[in-house]
Amino acid sequence: MRDFSSRPRARRLEPREWAWLAVGALAVLLSAGTAWDAWRDNRAAVVRVATVRAERDAAGARLRALESQVRRDSMGNQAWLTLEAPPPRVVADLAELLPPEVRLEQLSLKYGTRLEVEMTVSARDAAAYDLFLERLGASPRFGEVSPGEENRAGEVKAQVRAAYREEDAR
């Protein structure tokens, strides 16, 4: 609007300056829109992170509960196994399977969710050792027979692993 007042006037903008002003205003609007979108995305991400954390915490809690349960079960199982399969019985069962030419030199019992038997045996010859392995594999008391290192030069000395069958034991 035309004004011949003597007071100082703000400089009138040229059309080109108005255009730049419009471009600037548009850029500000676009930036504001983008910032709003980013803020909204950030909010959504924060909510998602919180949800995932809550799920993780819940899963952790469930895991801890299950581990505790498993530990309790394991300890119970071990106690039960110790009760149902005491070392003398295991040794007795094993002794029944030993051929005369084979002797038990070392025996280790590991009570866990199952009873693992690890033994070192000496046999006069390979045939006696093979017979022992055959009897062990056929026994309903033992399973998962796994022959370990063995020395067949003359007298056979070998390590054997097996699992005491708790189903059968029960």
């Binding site: 609007m1 035309r2 004004d3 011949f4 007042s5 003597s6 009138r12 040229e14």
Partner: protein
């Protein structure tokens, strides 16, 4: 009709001060109130470089009288300075040039005072064309001080001929050539336009007397010729004495009409007699 905005116009001239309250409705502008107060002879003499208010007290009293009659409250007023106080030129502005700076440069050489003392502003009248005006700052300040002393709150300050021209240019006559005759008490402005474009703008001191109508008609035709050759121009007249000129020129066979008319009543004179009403639309 609901009022959106009310503004006040305060016009000065040699014979008096006039004021109007104008409201902008949803459909049209309305003249809500009008008041005028006479000035003693010699109290105000429009001049581009000398002091205009010989009797500031009388001018202030007239302004107060108008203000009391209008009761504008806190409404800001547009002060309209009379014809004859400004150097006004129609010019073309080269493309890519800052218009106000160019106008100041062009007007500087023709001012009877330093360009630094000039308040310059523009009225765009088409692509690359402006009517540029320069008023001496000390002259502007005289009017501003008087209005402020009378309690008016100034919103802006315009020149009565430019305000009137703005109003007239909004209405096309449909004629090939039109000359708008904008009368002031001391000076007269003639602007010619053709094909919707302002082609010439001139200001002359008035020579009141029995031969003024003939002299002014001749000046109008000369102005029309500046806009280009053609048929007899259509004359539109506003300002003090407009009705008399229209009557005289019509009787002489010229095509003349008042520059504007007001629907309804409420004015002490014909609306065309008041050039300041151009400020209603300007």
């Amino acid at each position: 009709m609901r009022t959106l905005r009310t503004r006040a116009l305060v016009a000065f001239d040699r014979t008096g001060v006039a004021g109007a309250l104008v409201s902008q409705g949803l459909g049209a502008r309305r003249l809500r109130a009008f008041a005028q107060a006479p000035l003693p002879a010699g109290a105000l003499s429009p001049s581009p470089f000398e002091a205009n208010l010989a009797d500031p007290t009388a001018v202030r009293a007239a302004l107060s009288q108008v203000r009391d009659a209008l009761a504008p409250g806190a409404t800001g007023a547009c002060l309209l300075l009379p014809a004859g106080v400004a150097r006004i030129v129609l010019m073309e502005v080269p493309s890519g040039t800052e218009a106000e700076g160019y106008a100041r440069f062009r007007l500087a050489s023709s001012l009877p005072y330093s360009a630094a003392e000039a308040v310059v502003d523009l009225m765009p009248v088409g692509p690359g064309r402006v009517v540029a005006a320069a008023v001496r700052r000390s002259v502007v300040q005289e009017y501003e001080r008087a209005a402020e002393a009378a309690g008016w709150r100034q919103s802006r300050l315009d020149l009565a001929p430019l305000a009137a021209l703005t109003g007239l240019l909004r209405e096309s006559t449909g004629a090939a050539r039109t000359v708008d005759v904008i009368l002031g008490d001391a000076a007269v402005t003639l602007s010619a336009h053709a094909e919707g474009q302002l082609r010439a703008y001139r200001t002359r001191w008035r020579d009141a007397g029995p031969g003024e109508a003939a002299w002014l008609a001749a000046e109008a035709h000369r102005t029309a010729d500046l806009a280009g050759e053609g048929t007899a121009p259509r004359l539109r007249v506003v300002g003090p004495g407009a009705s008399g000129f229209v009557q005289a020129w019509t009787a002489a066979g010229l095509s003349a009409s008042p520059g504007w008319m007001l629907e309804g009543h409420g004015l002490p004179v014909a609306a065309a007699e008041l050039s300041c009403l151009g400020g209603m639309v300007g």
